[in-house]
């Protein structure tokens, strides 16, 4: 799944749109630009490569063994392989980190690298401390000049066209290390957290976080193991008339599955639109409103023409969910999975949540 | 007359399998003033086109100053023959003097443009044709008559031994027609320019041109003085009208 789960413009948060033809119809292209990509296009997605940490060239100096808890010394310089397959060499521990995706920002802050983050995007919204940071990227562009001006020594960008590849290339040409992260599935998120942890010199914090998160995922899948899996329609957006939902084998589909439901998918890994006919034929038993944050209510759904034949509408099984924590490939994913599982199985008994490190 | 400056030898021109000119042979000597006349579709404009090398005959040969036209490059032809266009369709605002200056294209330096000699020729042409009072005006704003004179000035600036005009009086009122004709006579008699003009107005042709060539259905039907060419029988046969409609003044020699 693309790390993009920024609060998309209300108009069209889903990614799939057939643009009007005709190069001269610029206004229609301006509409098209508002398409937010909440899903991945796996046709162009590079498979997330396995994290390879080359042996550090400097032998880490050990702390005095008399200390009760030896402080792990970060190993720099280090060469990491990012999700695009590029080798990125970090000469020293980064002190001025720029995050170009909201998920990355959350990861950095959760790992404890928050104080070293000097800039983020203008659509970052969590944690609150990040919102106040200077903006060096918008939805469409990256301000390379500003990044250079701030003296960044590490930039973490989103793959799969989340950030313009041109900007990434330009930053690299100017000598600024850029690590590209892209998680098409849940396992990928954990890999990215490990990668980011290694990059900022906090591998132990990363290991702890991934272990906690994995345990959290496992707890949910255990709890939902024997439960019936309702056919679930996860609504991404219907505001423009086209129905957008999860694509085959996408991040969101995986989340829904892990949360104990059988997601109704579009039938294609690259297409996010589903026709109403197909949806009616699939007859969802449960409707989850991922666009609840934009004001979509169960009442509205029930009144949509043609929708009342669905089991979910008949049984009033329409529930709102917080799409952000479900689709953002960051530390709050466990929280999202738990919320999702509870939305699917309201009486589910989950063990107490283990908190991810508190965010400043 | 002196040797032929423009000569056609058995020229046949076809346009999509329709023969527009058939076996035309004629010779025009240097310094002559010739009018091409005939009904619509007789092939007059085609004749001009093939003389100036724009059209290729399927048979026969056209000679310009003794050389076959199709063997000459366009630049050489342009230095020997000027063709006054029938209309001026200008896409951009163009001043009168700039239109006249186009006539120097075959002569000017390809890279550096107009030289003092060119500028002198342009000024002289403007003066000669009498459009000096129009200098500075946008050619597109002129009346049809003024525009026609400007185009003639452009051809005059080209300073070629042969001047060709295709129906130069179509848009002009009587006064302007006469003025244009007098200019042609002047160019012909004072400068020795060979003038070949397609005219639809028989009276003008008869009055101002010593030699008329009558075309009909692609063939030269008559060639000579107005009195010899425009006989009542011919007028009836070729133009299909009662000869009494056409009142010809006595031809100028």
């Amino acid at each position: 799944m693309s790390p993009l789960s920024a609060p998309a413009h209300r108009r069209a948060p889903a990614r799939r749109r057939a643009p009007t033809a005709g190069l001269a119809a610029l206004p229609s292209f301006l509409l098209v630009i508002l398409v937010a990509c909440t899903g991945a296009s796996s046709s162009v997605a590079p498979s997330p490569s396995s994290l390879a940490v080359a042996s550090p060239t400097a032998v880490p100096t050990a702390a005095p063994t008399s200390a009760p808890t030896p402080t792990p010394v970060p190993a720099f310089p280090v060469t990491l392989t990012d999700d695009d397959g590029n080798s990125v060499r970090l000469a020293a521990q980064p002190r001025k980190i720029v995050s170009l995706t909201p998920a990355t920002t959350e990861i950095l802050f959760a790992l404890g690298a928050g104080p070293r983050v000097i800039a983020t995007t203008d659509f970052d919204d969590y944690p609150p401390a990040a919102v106040a940071l200077p903006d060096v990227a918008s939805y469409t562009a990256v301000d390379v000049e500003k990044i250079v001006g701030l003296g960044a020594d590490l930039v973490i960008a989103g793959g799969n066209f989340f950030n313009p590849p041109e900007a990434i290339a330009q930053l690299r040409t100017l000598g600024i290390p850029v690590i590209v992260v892209y998680a098409p599935n849940i396992a990928g998120v954990l890999k990215d957290i490990t990668l980011i942890g290694a990059a900022v010199g906090l591998p132990d914090a990363a290991a702890g976080m991934t272990a906690t998160m994995q345990a959290g995922f496992d707890a949910v899948s255990t709890a939902t193991a024997g439960l019936p899996r309702p056919r679930t329609f996860y609504e991404l957006d219907t505001s423009t008339g086209t129905i957008y939902t999860v694509a085959d084998r996408s991040f969101s589909a995986e989340m829904v599955t892990l949360a104990g439901a059988a997601p109704i998918t579009t039938g294609s890994p690259t297409d996010y639109a589903i026709s109403l006919e197909k949806l009616i034929k699939a007859d969802p038993e449960l409707i989850l409103l991922g666009d609840a944050a934009y004001g979509v209510t169960a009442g509205q759904v029930k009144s949509r023409p043609g929708w009342k034949v669905m089991t979910a509408v008949k049984t009033d099984a329409i529930r709102a969910v917080n799409d952000q924590i479900i689709t953002r490939p960051g530390p709050r994913l466990v929280e999202g999975l738990r919320a999702l599982a509870l939305a699917i199985h309201p009486d589910l008994a989950l063990p107490a949540a283990v908190p991810i490190p508190p965010m400043p | 007359m002196s040797e032929a400056i423009v000569e056609l030898d058995g020229v046949t021109v076809a346009y999509r399998e329709r023969r527009v000119l058939v076996d035309v042979s004629l010779a025009i000597g240097a310094g002559e003033r010739v009018a091409l006349i005939g009904p619509n579709g007789a092939g007059k404009s085609t004749l001009l086109a093939v003389v100036s090398g724009l059209l290729r005959p399927i048979e026969g040969q056209v000679y310009l100053t003794g050389e076959p036209v199709d063997a000459l490059d366009r630049l050489t032809v342009a230095r020997r023959m000027a063709v006054v266009p029938g209309t001026a369709n200008l896409p951009f605002a163009t001043r009168v003097e700039e239109v006249v200056a186009l006539g120097r294209l075959p002569h000017e330096d390809p890279f550096r443009g107009a030289r003092p000699a060119d500028r002198a020729a342009i000024a002289a042409a403007i003066e000669r044709v009498g459009v000096g009072h129009l200098v500075g005006r946008d050619a597109r704003e002129l009346s049809l008559g003024e525009r026609q004179l400007v185009l003639i000035a452009m051809a005059v600036a080209q300073a070629t031994p042969v001047l060709i005009l295709d129906e130069p009086t179509v848009h002009l009122d009587l006064r302007h027609q006469v003025g244009a004709m007098e200019l042609l006579v002047d160019l012909n008699e004072r400068d020795g320019t060979t003038v070949i003009a397609v005219l639809h107005d028989l009276a003008l042709a008869a009055h101002f041109f010593g030699r008329l060539i009558l075309l009909d259905h692609g063939r030269v039907v008559a060639d000579g003085s107005a009195a010899n060419v425009l006989t009542p029988a011919r007028i009836r046969d070729v133009f299909g009208v009662d000869p009494s409609f056409v009142h010809l003044p006595m031809a100028v020699g």
Binding site: L23, D143, G149, F161 | E146, V178
Partner: protein, 360 residues
């Protein structure tokens, strides 16, 4: 002859235009060069990072004039000025020059004041090429030029070659045929582009950024690679100014004035297409420059290509350089929007002040 002198005086009074600028094109050239120099200094001094003007000049003097300057600036600042802003300003000038020269040439060739560099399908071809490049899951960087730029270049040239070859079929006059074929091929390619955008998924935004046109991706290698193409082709066009002048009254008259119309048309078409293709390859599709600048120049110095071409080159370079500055200062809006905002009203103003309308 007494008669025709007085017979031809019309009722309209003679218009006395100021003979100033037309007779002193050198003055205009000088003004243009000054404008360019100012644009260069402004363009390099302005950006999202504030840099002391003095520092900017010192950096330039130090790097390019070899003058020894006390180093009052940081490395980051120098990188910004020399590696980010300078190629950007120069690229804007180069593209502006190319578009204006191409526009003037197409207008003269097609005898159509509404022609611009994109009229024969180059825009659609370039856009489709760029879209295909984005869709190919191959990351190919050739001399740091980029796949998008290469494909856009090929697409533009391919389109106009197709238009030219197709226009020879049929009995229409060559100019009409060219225009109509250009429209048809352009529409077809635009449809292809729409299809590509539909299939693009997450890459849609990158395609769209290309369509809007920008100088964000301006780098030294790209500038230096396209500089010779555009300069040489533009100069080659200027050397053929005579042919363009000859075409003013139409093809027949041009032939009568000694122009080999078929050959010149082919050559000029090829050169103008080359220039356009190179320009859109590195900048995307920026409108208005190619349309408006030649007209403004003609209103100042008349339609002679000998003056219009070089002055359009300078004017186009200046216009686009300033437009890019404005675009950056206004917060990164697309430069094509700025050229439209400047170009359209200015054009209308000029039209109203000019004494003649532009009816063909």
């Amino acid at each position: 002859m007494a008669t025709h002198g007085e017979t031809l005086v019309t009722a309209r009074p003679r218009v006395v235009r100021s003979r100033g600028l037309r007779d002193r094109p050198v003055l205009l050239v000088g003004l243009g060069v000054v404008a360019l120099v100012v644009a260069l200094v402004l363009g390099v001094g302005v950006g999202s990072v504030a840099i002391e003007p003095g520092d900017t000049l010192k950096i330039l003097a130090n790097r390019f004039l070899g003058l020894d300057m006390p180093r009052t600036w940081t490395d980051a600042t120098e990188t910004i000025v020399v590696d980010l802003r300078l190629p950007r300003v120069l690229t804007a000038m180069l593209v502006g020059c190319a578009l204006a020269v191409a526009g003037a040439t197409f207008q003269g060739l097609l005898r159509n004041p509404l022609a611009d560099p994109y009229v024969l399908g180059t825009a659609s071809g370039a856009a489709l090429g760029a879209a295909i490049a984005v869709l190919i899951p191959v990351r190919l960087v050739f001399l740091e030029f980029g796949l998008i730029q290469g494909f856009a270049f090929i697409g533009a040239l391919g389109a106009i070659t197709a238009v030219y070859k197709l226009s020879r079929i049929g009995g229409l006059s060559p100019l009409t045929s060219l225009l109509l074929t250009g429209y048809a091929v352009g529409s077809l390619l635009a449809a292809g582009l729409a299809m590509a955008m539909y299939l693009s998924g997450a890459a849609l935004r990158q395609i769209f950024n290309y369509l809007l046109g920008s100088f964000d991706a301006a780098t030294w290698p790209r500038f230096l690679a396209t500089l010779p193409i555009i300069l040489i082709a533009s100069i080659a066009i200027m050397l053929r100014a005579r042919s363009l002048n000859g075409l003013l009254l139409g093809e027949h008259t041009a032939a009568h004035l000694g122009i080999d119309v078929r050959r010149e048309r082919r050559i000029l078409l090829a050169l103008a297409s080359l220039v356009t293709a190179a320009a859109v390859a590195i900048s995307g599709l920026i409108g208005f420059v190619g349309l408006v600048v030649p007209h403004v120049v003609r209103l100042l110095v008349g339609p002679s290509a000998r003056l219009v071409l070089p002055l359009s080159a300078i004017g186009g370079a200046a216009l686009l350089a300033y437009a890019d500055i404005i675009a950056r200062v206004a917060g990164g809006i697309p430069v094509g929007v700025v050229t439209a905002i400047i170009g359209a009203p200015f054009f209308l103003l000029i039209l109203r002040r000019a004494r003649t309308g532009y009816e063909v």
